[in-house]
Symmetry: D2
Amino acid sequence: METHATTSRRQPAAPGEHRSLAETYAAVRGLTTELCRGLAPEDMAVQSMPDASPAKWHLAHTSWFFEHFVLEPYRSGYRPFHPAYGYLFNSYYYSVGTMHPRPARGLLTRPSVAEVLAYRRHVDAELQELLEKRPAPEAAARVTLGLNHEQQHQELLLTDIKHLFAQNPLEPAWRELAPPPAAPARPLKYLPRPAGLVSIGHAGDGFAFDNETPRHQAFVGAHTLASRPVSNGDYAEFIRAGSYREPRLWLADGWATIQREGWQRPLYWSEDMTSEFTLGGRRTLDANAPVCHLSYYEADAYARWAGARLPTEAEWESYAAGLDVGGNLLESGYFHPAGAADGPAQFYGDVWEWTASPYSAYPRFQPLAGSLGEYNGKFMANQLVLRGGSCVTPASHIRATYRNFFYPQQRWQFSGLRLAKDA
Amino acid sequence: METHATTSRRQPAAPGEHRSLAETYAAVRGLTTELCRGLAPEDMAVQSMPDASPAKWHLAHTSWFFEHFVLEPYRSGYRPFHPAYGYLFNSYYYSVGTMHPRPARGLLTRPSVAEVLAYRRHVDAELQELLEKRPAPEAAARVTLGLNHEQQHQELLLTDIKHLFAQNPLEPAWRELAPPPAAPARPLKYLPRPAGLVSIGHAGDGFAFDNETPRHQAFVGAHTLASRPVSNGDYAEFIRAGSYREPRLWLADGWATIQREGWQRPLYWSEDMTSEFTLGGRRTLDANAPVCHLSYYEADAYARWAGARLPTEAEWESYAAGLDVGGNLLESGYFHPAGAADGPAQFYGDVWEWTASPYSAYPRFQPLAGSLGEYNGKFMANQLVLRGGSCVTPASHIRATYRNFFYPQQRWQFSGLRLAKDA
Amino acid sequence: METHATTSRRQPAAPGEHRSLAETYAAVRGLTTELCRGLAPEDMAVQSMPDASPAKWHLAHTSWFFEHFVLEPYRSGYRPFHPAYGYLFNSYYYSVGTMHPRPARGLLTRPSVAEVLAYRRHVDAELQELLEKRPAPEAAARVTLGLNHEQQHQELLLTDIKHLFAQNPLEPAWRELAPPPAAPARPLKYLPRPAGLVSIGHAGDGFAFDNETPRHQAFVGAHTLASRPVSNGDYAEFIRAGSYREPRLWLADGWATIQREGWQRPLYWSEDMTSEFTLGGRRTLDANAPVCHLSYYEADAYARWAGARLPTEAEWESYAAGLDVGGNLLESGYFHPAGAADGPAQFYGDVWEWTASPYSAYPRFQPLAGSLGEYNGKFMANQLVLRGGSCVTPASHIRATYRNFFYPQQRWQFSGLRLAKDA
Amino acid sequence: METHATTSRRQPAAPGEHRSLAETYAAVRGLTTELCRGLAPEDMAVQSMPDASPAKWHLAHTSWFFEHFVLEPYRSGYRPFHPAYGYLFNSYYYSVGTMHPRPARGLLTRPSVAEVLAYRRHVDAELQELLEKRPAPEAAARVTLGLNHEQQHQELLLTDIKHLFAQNPLEPAWRELAPPPAAPARPLKYLPRPAGLVSIGHAGDGFAFDNETPRHQAFVGAHTLASRPVSNGDYAEFIRAGSYREPRLWLADGWATIQREGWQRPLYWSEDMTSEFTLGGRRTLDANAPVCHLSYYEADAYARWAGARLPTEAEWESYAAGLDVGGNLLESGYFHPAGAADGPAQFYGDVWEWTASPYSAYPRFQPLAGSLGEYNGKFMANQLVLRGGSCVTPASHIRATYRNFFYPQQRWQFSGLRLAKDA
């Protein structure tokens, strides 16, 4: 996945406040650059692996998104800031034109960070002028889409910087961060859920990506959902039981993956399982915090070992729909999963939760018209759905119907799991 | 996929006859060796790609399956025919032990074909003795499983030989075969299907693999199903429209695949789209026969181009359950898809039909106990379900609930597609 | 390397006898098929790695060589045996036409072994008729070249079969062979050699490949040459000293190679260094026999560890030119290196000896005219010269001027080393 | 190759002046940072391919070289600037310790450019203090070696930046550069050279790397050397003759390389052969300038096509030894090869000239003692020697005996060729 979408009629708003679209635009765009504070230009140019992009590329691509999908069609007389940026910063919209190859994004030392920031300022100024003039509804909807898109890239920017810094023997911190307070051990309970038809998917006024639609019914059997995500302590037990050497616990493709990659533990854990690399540098592992940076294969194997399974999308969403969005999201300032005392079940925030559901089209799904139809639909193969947002997801970005998706072998996102069982 | 399974209580029977398990055993096992008639020992030893296995390996592996899962536990005093065969001919049962690497199967010039045939005769003789003595129900169930397993390898043996011969500039024919009679063009109609809850999956007495269970309910929306598979003529039109050069028609992974592989047309078609390589050698392409040897990506792109979609498993099965098994199956002797006059909709036989459904566990799915639990369950990631059997599937092997599965990029099986539409 | 060449004026003759070209032809060609005695058709069809070729391919390619370079130009009215064989069995003669890709030789299950043997008989019959009619000198020269070419493929056929059988956990023997008699330990002495101008390279009447010409002068410094090749016992000491873990002993490319490949010992040695795989099956390692199946990198590292170096071509040849050809060559029937009692210094036979000399053109080298110019010259980059023949080299094939060549990482040939030192 | 060496007794001096070692140190070190003027920090951090290194890495590695090989042993009480820099900036000296993997140099966004420059200043200050105190002869010799090493990295820094910028669709210029003046066409003549013994290699007082020693005799036949390098115009004719499609002109490995890489022309040429990418941006191709950025395979194929060959090291050096060092070297300020009017034969400067000589040890070659022995000797396999320096080689760095070396497929250096013929 890179990013996903649907046009909408309402802007994302932080809980409890109402802002104009222009105010929201300024806030969301400002946060992206704020996340780069403290980074050296070099940090923002390098690509640590094909799955990741340089911070500078995220800054430029999100600006191009507004430029191409809003300014060009809706701001009369607008001319692109630079004739080559459409080629350089188009991510994957073939219907817009050809693009610079993804694995070569890290070779673009030019435009420099300074030039990219100038590009951002230019786009922002033009956008603000457009927004001041009561834009057409479709233009406003695309701005809202662009802001949700921007928020996705905020998360990616952080996961990509984390991955980059983890490759460096110096283990630089993104910034000095106070670790989350240590939490007490929290017993795992199973919440009972009855069988029946449930409705899932997005309907109504708020923003949602096209892949969350249409709302539809699905049948779920009686089951239970764990009262919290699987913790580092839980997962360490799984490792100590020899599970990375026991093929019977793994999907065939998962076993092949851990052999090929030499995986023995979650990404970023030290070999002795006492510390982990974080956005704040290396830290002691908190046994009670949710385990993070797992591939789907590892999540699936853990569940099998625990005599449980991963929940389906429908199971997850039908429960989470009854909860307020909240928890350890980006606004907490931890930028890392945290243990929690008794209380809410951490459906939102901390870690994206792998589900058992392949990322497929909902019944009667229709992608957005035109090039924006490439946002989500064409990725509906070979990926799995994750739910709930993470410690680097903005609160205004996540909701019960939100479908994130990654390939089963990917684990540089803040990805963990919650268990489920048939009742 | 290699092969799949569940133990059962009844043996497969060719339509219209009732045979003892011993008779069925003899018939099914005999057919496998009969399919090798005319092959040179060299043909039976070489592996044309990692997905394929040498014919000799199929002959040995299926024998090992009976030896390990039936003779060793149920025939008292049985000693393995050869101490190394368990290692050489175990396909993927890690709980049984380590195994020869799959991509290196073609390096096993020994045991020779003659030695493998001796192994088969030995196993057959021992099995027949066991069957004569009223075996325990579990033993009989495993024999039935082994025979269904054998039938899967009969199909694989043919697809693998076809692939091997296609690599040879001499284009050898597997054997002299009469081509199917040319069929008239058959207009495509769409069969209406109402919305509602349907039950799918296996229940009851007959044999089924574990992945077909348990029977459960699913909701399907109103839709239509095409009255026949997509034909060669249909698909040629898709190619001539430039579809292999149009990224908007393709899943992102599909587009990447056709670029990387340089695909321009179905496997085995000539560049000029007038002929195709078959088990009977090179032949003129029959525009009215079902198109075959497509990857999932190609099937999906065709459906999108045609303004349709692939059916789901539930849609396919709920319709097919009302039809008798029949059509151009292995017994027709064509070993190639054939056009059909008006009448049955070719749900069975001709080509395996890619569905839109990822290969996942049915709700409350439980794999078989013990090592046989590795038969199907561990492959439930990254693959898609195909339905209906093909021109090289034995009639006694296929049924409405049958779930075949392959990776989306694989196309050396007899794989085609049928269209569906939302109503 | 595959094979090499120059036309000549004299046929190779086994020591001590004089045969007609027709007799020699019959003897050499007959030996090739004799070497296949006992092989199953499967053994002769499979290709164990891109460097190796199936035995069947060797049989066919050598026949094509005679057909294309002798029968077509010199036998009036000759028509190729099969229209596709020129494509299938051309090795690397681009000026003749395109060819089947080398790594895909193992996919050619057809023509079958029986068909290839029929091809051989056909070519042999035609050749014998041509030879009976006093062929033109150039035709006779090409027959001689073809016979030397055939002998090169006899050696390759054996090394390729050995490699294939070594991949099989059953470790089949090529045939039952009496091991060479165990030899006593033989102290290593250094034979003094004065500085001066030496003449190397071929001149005169006998057959030589074009890469052995022209004879020319070279200056060599004062040096010494070891009185025997390095033995298994010597090499085991090098291993026990930890040399495969000490980068300072290795060329940079060598170190990278052993890391990438995981090499810890010579090809075919058991991990415990007590046995090795041979053409006669697994056998106890003879500490006094020459070490074999080394890459250039291993030979070079051993020499450095021993405080010595590899000899140059000029050093080797100027010494060996004074010795009679003899020793443990193919005719000994061991098909494996053997220790030797005091006496000759084993310059010929046992193992090909890696020299320090890159395989380059001799001054004023001219390749053969026409397509046969592709025989040797185009391989003069990235390879190193080996000298002296091996235990599977026919005695009539080797001479002091003979230049064999392989890539530094290749070690499936019977390749070992002899030490030299500056005096 | 990365860089090479021998200790010596004299500092390099620009022609016509005599400077103290401290002055030379300041000048050489200052030039390295001066070459980075105008580069953005991003430009200095990214690695465009495994063969290249980031500019920042060059700055740090050369400082580490002085720190490790001079300051640590010879400056009493010296403590390394940073404990991790020895790991990060050791290139390939295994005897010093393990090192950061070469292909991952571009992931080191930290230390930042600013931190690396501080490292340089620190090392420079310490070195100057050491030099002021009349260092021990071995210390002074190592400083001289370090300065020659630094000059090698100056050239690499420029070739690596050129390669990086060439990957960017914006085609940034390293800096604004005046193109060399266009030169008139210059007819190719062949300079006669007699047969005889020549002495090559370094002896005497001046600095040379260990691989240039010892001076020794070699026999060369009568031959001729071209009066100038092959020009762009010459090479364009070779291309237009279809040579990149004619396998008979190529070494076997060369043909495989151009097929695999899709090469059709020199690196940096436009497809229409009218322009090329230079350190000053894209420019019209000058037909009379020496052709540049060729692999050995291309140089070899051109020579074959032209009915000539590449000169050997001995041929080249024995002629060049009679010429003054001069021509289009770094000091010319062109940073690009240039055509020349009649006069000197451009043996020095413009382009490194591929020779026919594999990079091997000279007779009785001894690498430097200790870790510095890893400088050159371990690369003596699989590479070819180039002679004469290029347009980015400092004049004080090159001499007749200088042996540069690269792999035959590498062409991002300023590499061209001169023809030779047997007389």
